[in-house]
Symmetry: C2
C-alpha cells in the first residue's frame, strides 16, 4: 500500500540485506505519525509500552532498557563509557568484523582490550574463554551474538555459563544487533548483563534507534563507578532517570527522543509480542527459512562462511561464491531480478562471498514471497552466470 | 491527509511547541518510505543532496555537514570530543539552560570551561566577550543562537566579529538547534566555524537526526589534534570519510544511517530551499509571525522573557504569565482548544512562564491557521482564567 505512494525505482525490490530489513506497512504508517510532543502523556504511554515490551522480548523481569536516537554503534559507546572505567580490562570474543570495531570503541574510552580471535567462520571456543578468564581479571566479556560480516552465531548461553562459573563478577555483554527477535535471548535465565541492538534488523523498524538493555547487576556496577562517565550523549547518569520515568508512563527530558521512530518501534514490537505468530514460533520460522535458503544455495554450489551448522545464524546467510565466480557475476543479476543483497564485509574474504538477510516480516509472512524469490533468484543467477561463461 | 490515517486523539491538535514542530505531509510520506539499503546508489544520491542543501541553507561554499542518527545533544559531544583536546579552554556564552548543558558536556570530555552569564532574558554583551578573550586563550567560544529555555536570540554575527578581531584562532561554535531555518545564519560571510542543530525544529523533520556543519578551518583544527578523539560514535575520524563519500553521491559505511529520516530531511530541505517561499522570505515570515504573536500576548498582559526587542527570537516566544496567573490557569485551557504549548524550562523562572514554538510550516503556510489559532487561544484562555477567578 505504502509502496504506491513512493516514486523510487527501488521500492518494488525485495531488500534481503542484513538490515535495514523490509518492514510492515503498519510500521511505516506509524513512522508517518504526525509530530508529537515528547512530553505529552500520550507519547509517554507509548514509550512506556516500548520499554516493557523490549524487556519481555528478552525474557527479563527487571532489566533496564535504554532507547536512544542513534545507530547500533551507540550501544558500544554506552557499554564502553558507562560500564568500563579507564584502565580496566575487557575481553572481546572475535567472530568477525564487528568485534574489531567494538574493541576499537572500548579502547577509545580507555579500556585495556584483549581479543580471542576465532578462525574465519568459527566462534570462540569455551575452553579458550575459560583460560583467558583464569589468567586475568576482566570487567566485561563481549560477544557478538551474530556477526553480520560472517553470519556466525555464538552460543551466548554457554558463554555466559562459563563466565558465571569462572569469573562471576565479570559482566557478560552481548552485541545482539543482528540477533534480537531472530535468535532467542533469555537475559535472566542465561545470566546476560547487557544486550545491545538496533531497530533496523530483526526488530523490523527503520534505522535510527539504539536499544541497550542492562541487567540490574550491570546498573549496580554502573552506579558503583569510582570515576566519572566518559560520554555525555550516551551517559546513563543522564538517561537512567529518563528511562525510569518513561517506564512509569511519565515524560522526562534529557535530549529529544526520536518520537516517530518510537511509534514505529511500538508498532513493530506489538506485532512481534502480540501478533498472530508467537515469539517462539517466530524463532522457529527463522530457523526453518534459514535452513531452506542455505540448503538451496549449497545445492547449487555456494558454501556457507560459518564452518559448521551449530554456528550458523538463523537471520542471515553468508555464502562463498562457487569456484570461478565472483560478486560481479551474481549480485547484478540478483538486482535485475529485484532482489537486493549485501556484498562481503569481512576484509580477508571480502570479494569471495555475499550476504543475504532473512529476518522479520520477510520470514514470518510467507505471502510476501520474499524467501521463494531469493531462492529462485540465486539459482537462476548462477545458472545465467554459468551460461555466459561457456 | 496523513492525519486521517492515525488514531491518536492528539493528531487534531496544533503542536506549537519549540520542537518537535508540525511537519508537512510530504515529509511524513517520505518518512514512510519503504526500507532502503544505506549502500544503494539511489540512497547515496538523496544523502548527497541533503549534504549539499544543508551547506546552501547556511550560505556556505565548502563547510562540511555531518548528518548522524542522534538528537541535537550529540552535536555537543561532537564539538567537545573532536575540536577541544583535554585541558584546553572553552568559553561558553550563557543565555539560558542550554549553555549549562553544553558546558557540562565540554567538561565531560576534559575541557576547562569558563562561562559568561547574561541576566535572565538577556544575551551576553560583546564587551564582556572581548574582555574574556583578552584575558585567556580559548580554543572555542560557544554561543546558543536561540536558547529554547528563554527565547533569547544572540547576535552571532557580531559575536563572531569580536572573536575574529580579538582572538582569530578561536573557533566560533553556534548551538543553532532552535534557530536553523527560522533565523538567518551566514557561515562563510560571518566567520562561523561550527553550526550544530537537529531535525525537529526549523528544519521541519521528525526528531532523530543530529546535524553538525563544520567550516574547513574547524576541520583543519580537528585534523591537527595532537591527542586521540575521545568519542567513538561521534568521532569525525570515523565520519569524515563517510560524509565526504556521500557528498560525492557514493555510499560508505561506518554506522547505519537513519535512512527514512534522511528521506524525510530531503523532502523538507527541498521545500525550504526550492519551494515557493524563498529562504529570505522564510526568515521574513518568521519575523512577522513572531511579532504578531508577541504583540497579541503582550496586549492582554503577558510579558516576554527576553529583556528587549533586539534579543527576541523569531521562531519561538517565552512569555511570563500575567500577575496572579500560573501555568495551571492557562496551559490546560490552551490544550482544550487543541493547542499544545511547552511549559517553562529555565530553573529559576520555571513556573512563571510558558513557551510557544512558531517555526516551519505553521509559519510559512498561513492556510493551516496555526498562528491565528494560538493567538485567539491565548487570549480566550486568559479571559476564561480571569472570569473563573472572579
Amino acid at each position: 500500500m505504502i509502496r504506491s505512494l513512493c516514486e523510487s525505482s527501488e521500492t518494488e525490490r525485495s531488500r534481503l540485506i542484513p538490515g535495514p530489513i523490509e518492514v510492515t506497512d503498519e510500521v511505516l504508517f506509524a513512522n508517518a505519525h504526525p509530530s508529537m510532543s515528547h512530553m505529552s502523556p500520550d507519547f509517554a504511554l507509548v514509550f512506556g509500552d516500548c520499554i516493557r515490551m523490549t524487556r519481555q522480548l528478552l525474557y527479563s523481569k527487571d532489566a533496564q532498557p535504554f532507547l536512544i536516537a542513534g545507530s547500533g554503534t551507540l550501544g558500544w559507546d554506552q557499554v564502553s563509557a558507562n560500564l568500563v572505567e579507564p584502565g580496566e580490562n575487557a575481553l572481546v570474543l572475535h567472530s568477525g568484523y564487528f568485534a574489531d570495531s567494538f574493541a576499537d570503541c572500548l579502547q577509545t574510552y580507555g579500556a585495556n582490550v584483549d581479543q580471542i580471535k576465532a578462525e574465519i567462520g568459527g566462534a570462540v571456543k569455551e575452553a579458550d574463554i575459560e583460560r583467558a578468564l583464569q589468567a586475568k581479571r576482566y570487567k566485561i566479556v563481549t560477544v557478538t551474538h551474530v556477526d553480520t560480516s560472517t553470519a556466525v552465531l555464538s552460543d551466548i548461553k554457554a558463554i555466559a555459563n562459563v563466565v558465571k562459573r569462572v569469573s562471576p563478577d565479570t559482566l557478560v555483554v552481548v552485541d545482539a544487533v543482528c540477533s534480537v527477535a531472530s535468535e532467542e535471548i533469555q537475559m535472566d535465565a542465561w545470566g546476560i548483563d547487557v544486550v545491545l541492538t538496533a531497530s533496523q534488523k530483526g526488530l523490523g523498524t527503520p534505522p535510527g534507534l539504539s536499544i541497550v538493555v542492562a541487567s540490574q547487576k550491570a546498573i549496580q556496577v554502573f552506579e558503583n563507578r569510582s570515576t566519572p562517565v566518559t560520554t555525555y550523549y550516551g551517559s546513563w547518569k543522564k538517561w537512567l532517570p529518563i528511562m525510569k520515568a518513561y517506564g512509569n508512563n511519565s515524560a522526562a527530558y534529557f535530549a529529544t527522543p526520536p518520537v516517530n521512530l518510537i511509534y514505529a518501534f511500538h508498532a513493530s514490537l506489538t506485532q512481534i509480542m502480540k501478533g498472530s505468530v508467537s515469539l517462539e514460533q517466530r524463532f522457529k520460522f527463522h530457523q526453518d527459512v534459514s535452513r531452506r535458503i542455505k540448503k538451496a544455495a549449497e545445492e547449487v554450489g555456494f558454501k556457507g562462511v560459518p564452518l559448521s551448522e551449530d554456528v550458523q545464524a538463523n537471520g542471515m546467510s553468508a555464502l562463498y561464491f562457487p569456484d570461478g565466480f565472483t560478486a560481479s557475476d551474481i549480485v547484478p543479476r540478483l538486482l535485475k531480478k529485484d532482489v537486493v543483497v549485501a556484498g562481503g564485509l569481512h576484509a580477508s574474504i571480502k570479494d569471495k562471498y555475499f550476504r543475504i538477510g532473512h529476518m522479520g516480516v520477510s520470514v514470518v509472512d510467507p505471502s510476501r514471497g520474499d524467501v521463494d524469490k531469493i531462492i529462485s533468484a540465486v539459482k537462476e543467477s548462477l545458472a545465467e552466470a554459468k551460461a555466459s561463461k561457456q
